[in-house]
């Protein structure tokens, strides 16, 4: 009885592993095909599928560059925006979370409720007003509208506050306060270091989210030299590359490789973050 049950479970387990294997293929194969095809010629790609890289990488690269696909510029632009906005977001979210955790003031609860309410409101819903406002301010083609709003990120504040509540104790800051340290200094020297784990987790999500943002830059940025990576990717669908399959695939590959690398190193943190916060990216 016990035996059949165990063998049944063994069978079930094998079936599940097979199923997991299929899902793994589903997750990986599309990217693998793209990367492999980026090393093949247009003719090879049209003739048939291969899972083994070819030898046309350099040629594809040449064609890609000639078509005006400036990947390094794109990397830098995206990195600059993602890095700046993440830094802003982390700093001010921690600051806000701290303000809402340790002090008691009249508007504390309304402020917190407002932030909680905004958690789910995606920035796209006011994009028309946002866009016109930026036109009025003459901020088309500027990175300011892509960076500064990150300083008011409700989900990050919420996560930071949740974290702070678990580690904060008035005794932490009492002695410093008695020593006459300023409130801001206390925050910088005592609290921020303590929040490193939360900042690390949220940084990854903030960075990736900004890196992947498409709609906002699409509306605001016109100048090709200021295009972010997703906007460059969009160029791949235009006429220039319709026949140059190899370089088309290479362009896509180059756009996803940084994220694949990030994921290889940080997937544990990312999965941990998703598990902890149910973070919605």
């Amino acid at each position: 009885m016990m035996n059949t049950n165990e063998s049944k479970q063994k069978k079930q387990r094998i079936l599940i592993y097979i199923f997991f294997g299929l899902l793994t293929l589903l997750s990986v194969l599309p990217f693998w095909i793209v990367i492999v095809n980026s090393t093949r010629t247009a003719e090879q790609i049209q003739q048939g599928l291969s899972l083994i890289p070819g030898r046309n990488f350099f040629n594809n690269w040449q064609i890609l560059r000639d078509g005006g696909f400036n990947i390094f510029q794109g990397y830098w632009n995206s990195f600059f925006i993602a890095f700046s906005s993440t830094a802003l977001s982390m700093y001010f979210s921690s600051l806000t979370a701290y303000g809402l955790t340790v002090y008691d003031f009249k508007l504390k609860r309304p402020a917190y409720l407002l932030i909680m309410f905004m958690i789910m409101l995606p920035p796209q819903v006011n994009i028309i007003g946002f866009y016109r406002f930026m036109v009025d301010l003459g901020l088309l083609n500027s990175y300011i509208p892509l960076i500064v709003p990150a300083a008011a990120s409700a989900p990050t504040v919420f996560f930071m506050k949740q974290y702070l509540q678990t580690i904060y104790h008035p005794a932490l800051v009492d002695s410093a306060r008695i020593d006459g340290a300023s409130e801001l200094k206390i925050f910088h020297s005592i609290i921020l270091p303590l929040m490193k784990p939360a900042i690390a987790t949220m940084s990854i999500f903030g960075f990736v989210q900004s890196w992947n943002n498409f709609l906002m830059p699409l509306m605001l940025i016109n100048d090709r030299s200021r295009f972010t990576l997703p906007m460059l990717v969009q160029l791949l669908t235009t006429d220039t590359y319709t026949t140059q399959y190899g370089s088309l695939y290479l362009g896509i590959s180059l756009s996803i490789i940084p994220l694949i690398l990030i994921y290889l190193f940080l997937s544990k943190h990312i999965i941990g973050g998703v598990t902890a916060g149910g973070v919605k990216m």
Partner: protein, 312 residues
């Protein structure tokens, strides 16, 4: 410094600490300044734009009341876009939550003791982190006509005799968009649900085991009912996200063929940027979207508030 602080009377210390409360305002001020400038004001501006008649090269408009709103309710493309948005969400969400529940059930099944869970979770979540724009272009090339990889495979194995132009078929295009959404999100959903299951009181399961319940029975009778709130959370966050769907349909076929994957966001973008540049109509459509999102957000809000207040 330390020696002097010890001489300060206790009462004065307290007073000093109490005084600091006003710093709460300073600390949250930057957040609310940025919020006011880049979020609140644009929202009010959108609202204003929705009640005037700005289009084309006009920079100012006349107040026209609810006309833009009533126009939208009779406009077939807006209605179609609303329908598509919901359809694409439903078609991706049902299999997504189904598979996620199944995966969560397996991940947490104490009898199965599956190995490599961390690895599989990472792999299933992986597509979610990749730029949606890139994902769209990937699928665009994979389903390319006539000699894209999918056509090549399907002809190789004999499913197709001649290449099929996927992006000229409404059904195929919708299916591809829904599949991409499903594929990008089921991993995330399964991880959240797994975390939800693991947070359920262990003693309930122990009692069930003593009563001789099978794993499936405990899952159906204990896990599923207790998982309802978190499932609701997943459902609404997914719906709010789904309402904003833009990158994939925009880059795959730009809403085509025959508007089959035109979504609310591609509609809004199109109205504001293309053709007559009907900014006010786009704004009114945004307001509809905003209202819908606020209603959904309210549900989530009460959910999170109750939860965080229970914890606090």
């Amino acid at each position: 410094m330390e020696s002097t602080s010890e001489t300060v009377p206790k009462k004065k210390k307290l007073a000093k600490i109490k005084n600091t409360n006003k710093f709460g305002y300073y600390f949250i001020l930057p957040f609310f300044l940025v919020f006011a400038a880049f979020n609140l004001y644009p929202t009010l501006y959108t609202l204003y734009l929705a009640f005037v008649d700005i289009s084309g090269f006009n920079l100012e408009g006349n107040f026209i009341g609810m006309q833009n709103f009533s126009y939208l309710l009779t406009n077939n493309l807006f209605l179609q876009a609303s329908y598509n948005t919901l359809l694409l969400w439903v078609v991706n969400f049902i299999p997504q939550i189904g598979l996620a529940l199944l995966l969560a059930y397996w991940f947490t099944n104490y009898q199965l003791k599956l190995k490599g869970q961390g690895f599989f979770k990472s792999v299933f979540y992986f597509p979610n982190i990749i730029t949606a724009a890139s994902v769209a272009v990937i699928f665009f090339t994979l389903f390319d006509y006539p000699r894209g990889p999918i056509n090549l495979i399907l002809m190789e194995v004999g499913v197709l005799e001649a290449p099929f132009d996927f992006f000229r078929s409404a059904f195929a295009t919708r299916s591809i968009v829904a599949f991409i959404q499903f594929w990008m999100w089921y991993g995330q959903t399964s991880i959240v649900l797994t975390a939800g299951i693991l947070s359920i009181d262990k003693s309930l399961y122990e009692a069930a085991v003593i009563d001789g319940a099978t794993a499936w029975q405990t899952f159906r009778r204990i896990t599923l009912p207790l998982l309802k709130p978190i499932t609701l959370y997943v459902l609404i966050t997914s719906l709010v996200g789904g309402l904003q769907m833009f990158d994939i349909p925009r880059l795959l076929t730009d809403g085509g063929p025959n508007n089959s994957v035109e979504t609310l966001m591609t509609y809004i973008f199109r109205q504001a940027i293309e053709g007559g540049r009907n900014v006010s109509i786009a704004a009114a459509a945004s307001v509809y979207l905003l209202i819908l999102t606020i209603i959904l957000s309210a549900v989530i809000f009460f959910f999170i508030r109750d939860k965080s207040e229970r914890e606090a």
